[in-house]
């Protein structure tokens, strides 16, 4: 099939960007969305033109690298799907497809569709861990953790850190991303010692990075490729309030 593409091109972080028209003329329904872009790029490269820059790596929905807004929706129209797992059979002959980068103050554009998401690493660095050095860990079965709690923690831990939640949010909030990590660690006994410090430190770092706050729109949950529920944000907010009452 043939598609019309409108793709965001921007040469560098400080330059102005614009949507540029491209034609994708040999699209097979079995292609993934990124393979469709590979083919467009192969054509550009053969003509000696600068290829469209976009991020991807594992191409099986787990590394969190791919980050495209397709027709206004981060990761495109399929629910619970990263854009690398979106297939072209979802589109039809003659469709116009607009492709843009994640847009948020905290995610400056590096080039074309590639953005800098290091702000999310700095939020984790502020407290998204259990502070244990290698060496003195007790036996893995020393603490029994009820299956239900382990499963709920795993539901939250499934976050792939792609940033779609931020890109979908009108406030560019990272609350779902943070809520997932804070839930994961505060549900487990291992995370108790730093429970209060962690939530305060991560939220302060997120504020400093320019992520917005949450106004309960639920856009994040709707686009999350791992379908992480918004209840993680509620849990984070409770943790934060408790921490503020206890420490200030």
């Amino acid at each position: 099939m043939k598609l019309k593409l409108k793709i965001w091109r921007q040469t560098g972080p400080t330059s102005a960007g614009r949507l540029v028209d491209y034609a994708a003329d040999h699209v097979s329904p079995d292609m993934s969305f990124l393979e469709m872009l590979d083919v467009v790029n192969e054509g550009l490269i053969k003509q000696g033109e600068d290829a469209i820059a976009f991020d991807s790596d594992c191409r099986e929905g787990i590394c969190g690298t791919c980050s495209l807004v397709v027709n206004g929706i981060p990761h495109g129209p399929d629910r619970g799907t990263t854009v690398c797992q979106l297939h072209m059979r979802r589109f039809k002959e003659g469709d116009t497809v607009t492709i843009e980068p994640w847009r948020a103050v905290a995610f400056p554009v590096v080039k074309d569709l590639v953005v800098d998401r290091s702000a999310m690493d700095r939020v984790i660095a502020a407290g998204g861990y259990v502070s244990v050095n290698v060496g003195g860990a007790p036996d893995g079965n020393a603490i029994a953790i009820p299956k239900e709690i382990a499963e709920t923690a795993m539901d939250s831990a499934a976050c792939i850190g792609c940033g779609a939640c931020v890109a979908a949010c009108k406030n560019a909030s990272a609350h779902l991303f943070m809520g997932a990590k804070i839930s994961h660690l505060s549900l487990l006994p291992q995370g108790q010692a730093e429970r209060q410090r962690r939530v305060v430190a991560m939220i302060e770092q997120a504020d400093a990075e320019g992520f917005g706050s949450c106004s309960n729109e639920g856009e994040c949950e709707a686009v999350c490729p791992k379908e992480i529920p918004i209840s993680n944000i509620a849990r984070m907010t409770r943790e934060y309030m408790k921490a503020m009452l206890a420490t200030r």
């Binding site: 393979e35 490269i45 290829a51 787990i62 059979r89 690493d121 290698v134 603490i143 009820p146 850190g161």
Partner: protein, 637 residues
Amino acid sequence: MKLDAKTPSGALAEKWDRHKFEMKLVNPANKRKYTVICVGTGLAGASAAASLGELGYNVLNFCIQDSPRRAHSIAAQGGINAAKNYQNDGDSVYRLFYDTVKGGDYRSREANVYRLAQLSVNIIDQCVAQGVPFAREYGGLLDNRSFGGAQVSRTFYARGQTGQQLLLGAYQSLMRQVHQRAVRLFTRREMLDLVVIDGQARGIIVRNLMTGAIERYAADAVILATGGYGTAYYLSTNAVGSNVTAIWRAHKRGALFANPCYTQIHPTCIPVSGEHQSKLTLMSESLRNDGRVWVPKKTGDARSPEQIPEAERDYYLERKYPSFGNLVPRDVASRNAKEACDEGRGVGESGLAVYLDFQDAIQRLGADVIKEKYGNLFHMYQKITDENPYKVPMRIYPAIHYTMGGLWVDYNLMSNLPGLHVLGEANFSDHGANRLGASALMQGLADGYFVIPYTIGHYLASTTQPKVTADHDAFKEAADNAQRQITRLLSVKGNRGIREIHRELGRIMWDDVGMARTAESLERALTAIPKLRDEFWNGVSVPGTPDNLNQSLEYAGRVADYLEFAELLALDALHRRESCGGHFREESQTPEGEALRDDENYAYVAAWEFTGVGRQPELHKEPLQFEEVHPTQRSYK
């Protein structure tokens, strides 16, 4: 060159403890005076960088991705082995050691494997302490499953995302060290050269992928944890960014490359759907517990599967291996699928697939049970192929999945170049000619959390080094070398696509250096690869400029390295005139068509020394001695 594995003396079970005591230590107050470079942030790299940061070393950690959390360890599905014996089913350190040596088809070093089995138990404890949400039983204790033909249940897992959860544990520990300024993190940096001064590894040259700047970093020791080289075959289950560049360029600076021909081909992947395909997706091998593998008996039978009556189907694994049936090991299952397709009995549009049929299991157990067991895999299959595996059989085909070969290292995980340490899939050390399922995660974390923190201290404390900075002439020479390659790539200005050439290389490798190799096919590859390399350097088109983010330039550099490395892989396969593990030479098989080792002539590690592009490399042999496990012929009939 005499290869010294530096295996400690004494009884197998005491070697590591004794060695730990005998190794020299760096005083806690002196550790911060040492700078260690670590390239890679997967399980091995992130665990090493975090652990060394915790100890007080000054660590510089590099990765090509935009975040350390995206390294390809994240995609590992099944689990991680550990000899905990929590199930009371007869597991032990010795049994894990034995299974791993045998599974590697007697081509690994006993002492390394024993240490790996010993450390496996500490890994689980460490990961639990970090908050890794492993699967648990109702009583709250850790759950296990059996895996990859082992007779005990020793695999720990976190749903189908074990690699992700272990990597996030290591990543979080790493970010904690970054926060404490013990580790400096450099993302979107690609290592382009190793700097060797007076025979010692003293630094690296990287390209800042965002700005294009060539940067120099000096250190007292260098660690490479940069993964495997599966994408030499173009299509593999690896991430599209995985590459051989870091270890290949270290090889060109003198590090020996060991056993490059040991590649693992996984039997159950979703088949290729067309020319555009960029990667292959794995379907967990656990599916073979309930799925039956078959092809039509007739060649060229184009009927759809439900129209082929039972009597006209060939369940070839059940027919040929009555006692193991569909559960033969990965290498055997892969070779048999290829054989059926080569006979013209393959299915699907391309003819390069076999059926994995769940109809019997669904009738026996009900669709609900199958959904509970494999629901996520069936869902993923349907998403990619648009076919419903509850109704029609899955189509599967083997694909490159893991590479056992890598840079040669001794017992301390140091290469023949003093100061250069190599961890995880990037080294060759523990899996011999075939890796068992759920052992890759174990090795990466053992190397990073529990081996390198000791052995690097020993190296630093027992070595005298002059102080060097990145202004040294050797850094200038290496930076110029990296810059020259970039200029050369950009100045070809041909009209051939980079991907097109990579795809062509993959075709050569898969057809002639793939699942079944012959002297003839390997000779053919050895003629075709240099020819393709010439075509690349005379005809490739690399658009754009070097001074900003240029993914075409990055990709071209990696393909250029593969065009050199692939020749070494084929040459190693040609020289090893025996079959072992993932390396199957058709000339060397039993009367029943199984892999036949030649222990008399090939029980050694083949470590190759670089002598120039297109020149015959020099072979060094490290003989393998088996004092505990006696090599036998594997049979699955």
